[in-house]
Amino acid sequence: MNATDLAIDVSHLVTHYGSRKILDDISFQARQGEIMVIMGGSGSGKSTLLRHLLGLHQPTSGSIRLLGKDITQLSADEMYDLRKNMGVAFQGGALFNSMTVGENVELPLREHTRLDENTMRIMSRMKLEVVNLAGFENLMPSELSGGMIKRAALARAIVMDPRLLFFDEPSAGLDPVVSAELDELILILRDAMNMTIVVVTHELESAFKIADRITVLDQGRILMSDTVAAVRASSNERIQSLLNRKPRNEAINPDEYMERLTREIF
């Protein structure tokens, strides 16, 4: 891979919450126009990885290059400029509750551009059309259903036509039809705008449908970061159990197990 067409290049990322190590030596890449799905069991560190990719935390060590810029080294002003090329749809939507849906979607435009009022209005309505929320711009977020909130959050994330889109758990808590529609939308967006899209998800089906590459996390480490076909064909036990939804059946070490149960009992 040529370093210049890498939209995302994470190398040797190590992060801690307090003194607990959460991510350990994470490295992976994604090219412009690729859809990268991050998978892994609960607590494996997916959300933590995403928060670091978004520059919300400073990692302990390692580098995160987005569109060629190492965000762990950027000044506030450089980061500010980079953020114009990044869109994020959070798991819970994180719409601003004091604003209407339309105002939410327009906010990035208001902050970052000096476009005409009409242009901003049309742009935000176009994005609401794209996510099938036409005509809802005057509602408050509290008046929307869960799936509508997710779509409105997506509209806000793409209103600036970002080159990087991050999407946390698009399908969580949605019925299969709605989540299939969201998958479709992700593909359309990539095709139309050549966005690089990072999706965090549990849903296997959705992951296989949209991903170009899949990164599998397990207990803060990368098990694999490869094409969909390679992940499917992997012989790694943990990956297979994730794919086949088998419960973990790790070998038990009786002494360690007893130690865990009886620790700090006197």
């Binding site: 009409n118 242009t119 742009m123 176009m126 139309a192």
Partner: protein, 110 residues
């Protein structure tokens, strides 16, 4: 982004070329709205557009709406693929009158 304005009676022709993005689209918008103030039917040539974002599309939408209100013709001609993708994203390819080329439109005129 470059803007060329030509007279192709009865039309005004606005040729956009290069990147129509957040920085340049306000100029495109102004050019389109200015031409419409002259009460001339308008063609917008997008053949040389290398990239168009939704602010560019929004400018076209506003132009089209303004033309409609005045009963003037407004059409896109020779839409480059990249611009077409963005139009399709919001299903606007089904809304704008689009002609494959300028010649085609002029031929129909006769």
């Amino acid at each position: 982004m470059e803007i060329q304005i030509e007279d192709r009676p009865p039309y005004k022709l606005v040729r956009l070329s290069g990147d129509v993005d957040l920085h340049s689209s306000p100029r495109a918008r102004e050019a389109i709205l200015d031409c419409l103030k002259l009460k001339a039917p308008l063609l917008v040539d997008l053949s040389a557009v290398s990239y168009m974002d939704s602010s560019g599309v929004a400018s076209l939408v506003e132009g089209y709406q303004t033309a409609k209100k005045q009963g003037l013709e407004f059409a896109l001609v020779a839409v480059a693929q990249s611009a077409m993708n963005v139009l399709k994203l919001a299903r606007l390819d089904k809304v704008f009158p689009i002609h494959a080329s300028l010649d085609e439109r002029m031929a129909q005129q006769r």
